[in-house]
Amino acid sequence: MDRAAVIGVGITKIEANKVKETFADMVWEAVNKALEDAKMTIDDIDNVVTTSNDFWDGRTISCMAVGDASGARHKNVSCVEGDGTFGAFYGLSRVLSGSYGTTLVTAHSKGSESVSSLITNAAFDPIYDRSLGMDMISACAMQARAYMHRTGTTPEQMAMVSVKNHGNAMLNPLSQLPMNITVEDVLGSEMISDPLHKLDCSPVSDGCCAVIIANEKRASQYGSLPVWIKGVSFCSDSYFLGDRELSKAKSLTQAAKKAFSMAQISDPLSEIDVAEVYDAFTYQELMWLEAMGLCQDGKAGINLEKGYYGIKGKLPVNPSGGLLSGHPVIAGGLIRIAEIVKQLRGEAGAYQIAGAKKGVAHGVNGLCGQSHCVWILDQEK
C-alpha cells in the first residue's frame, strides 16, 4: 500500500436527540471542524465520500441530504452505505488510485428520528426470518449467550466493560453518556434481552464525524500533523446467523490479520498502544479483542478484570468512552478512527494515552458483526 494519512478530523457532540439539527446541519459542523483541524479550506478537498444509511435516515438516496453541507457540489462525490470505516476505506482508495490528492469522508446518523428496533429488524431476511420479529438487540443477545457459553465470560465481566467505558466517557466532552457506575448498577439495570441489560447496550444517538485523508504528497502541505494509515482491511462472514459460528468473529480475525500484516505488525498485542473497537454491546468489546488477536481467545474478560484495558492499562481500549457512551450508527466506526488519530497526535485531552504511537480502529456492518473493517494507524510514516 502506498502511503496516505489522516490529516483532519471533526466530530460533533454525540447526543440523544439533536432536535434542532438536520443531517445537513450535523455534517456542516463536522466538516468545518475537520477542515479547521486540517488547516484547509473546502477548495483543498479534491473529492468527497459521504456515508449514510437509507433505512436509518428514513430516506432513499440518503446522501442527497448532505451534498451541499459536505461541499460536494462541483466535486466528484460518492456514497458508501454502511459503517463509516467502510466509507473511509473507499475514500482512501480514491486517494491511492491516483485520482485525487485528498478525500473528505463524512458519516452521519440520527438514531433519534427512527425506531431502531424496526430499522434493525429490516436487516433480517424478509422471506425466512424477518416476521419472527428479531432486531439488533435480541440477535446480539443470542450472540452474547453463545460467546459466554463458549468462553465462560461472566455477566460481571461484561458489566465491567460498561463501567470502564462510561467512566472513560467522563473525560470526553463529546460523549453522550458519561457515568460513574458500578457492576451492580449494570446488572441491576433493566434486562432487555437476556443476557443483555440496558447498561450492556449502547444508547440511541445522533452524531456525525468527518475525516480528511490525503496522499503522501499532500499530507504534509497544510500544517496539521498527519497520522499515517499503515494497514486496512475488511471482510464479511456468512449472512444467516445460523450459517455462522456465532460465538466467533471469523471475518474480523481475517480482516485484522490482513491489516496487521500490511502494517508489518507481527505481534499486535505488544505493538499496538491503543484500540477503539466497536462496542455496540459490552460483550462485543471482549469478543472483538479476541478475534483481532489482541487477546488470547476467551481471556478478554479475565484481562479486563486485571485492568489491562483501562486508560492506564496494558492496552487501553475505548478510552474515549466507546459506543456504549454514545452510538451514532454509521458514524460509529469513523469516530473510532478519529479518536485514534487524536490519540496518536497527543490531542485526546483528559483521556490521552501517554506515548501512544500505534493504534487500531474498528468498524462493523450488519447483524452480530457480520462484516468488519480494521484500520491500523501510526504516528510515524
Binding site: 432536535v19 434542532k20 456542516w28 451541499d68 457540489r73 428520528e113 422471506i127 416476521s131
Partner: protein, 154 residues
Amino acid sequence: MTAKENLVIESKGSGQPFNYAVGMYGSKFFKELRENRKLLGTKCPKCGKVYVPPRRVCGECFVEMTEFVEVGPKGIIGTFTILRYAFIDPETGEQKPVPYGYGFIRFDGADTLFQHYISIEDESKIKIGARVEPVFSEERKGNVKDILCFKIIE
C-alpha cells in the same frame, strides 16, 4: 409436490415511523407561515442568491447563511407537470389521488424554486411563467400543508 404457486411473503403494512427534524431554518419558515402567512428564504452573503426552502448552507459558495428575507407570496411557475398516473403515497401506504398539478414556484425575490401543488381547475392556464399565489389553509399547523396549493392569478 404441489404445482408452482409463485408464493409471496407480504410485509403486511409494517412501516417505519420517523420523527424528522425540521431544523431551525425550516422551523423559522414554518412558524412565520403558520402565524403570519409570510414566506422566508435565506440569502447567501457571498453570491447573494436567495434560497427557498431556507437552509443553512449555500451549496454553491459553501458558506453559512444567517440572513432571512421575505419572499413572495406571489411568484411565477418555473416549471411544472400534471401528474396523471396512480402510485402509492409512501407516507400512508395508500393510493395517492390523481390527477394533480405539480409546480416549481419561483417566489418574487427568490432564486430557487419551491415545489407544491398547483390548482388544475383550468389546465390551459398552467404555463411556465404564469403568475401564481398560494392558497393558505385556514388551520395552519406549521408544515408544508399550511399552503393548500398555488393558483393562477391575472
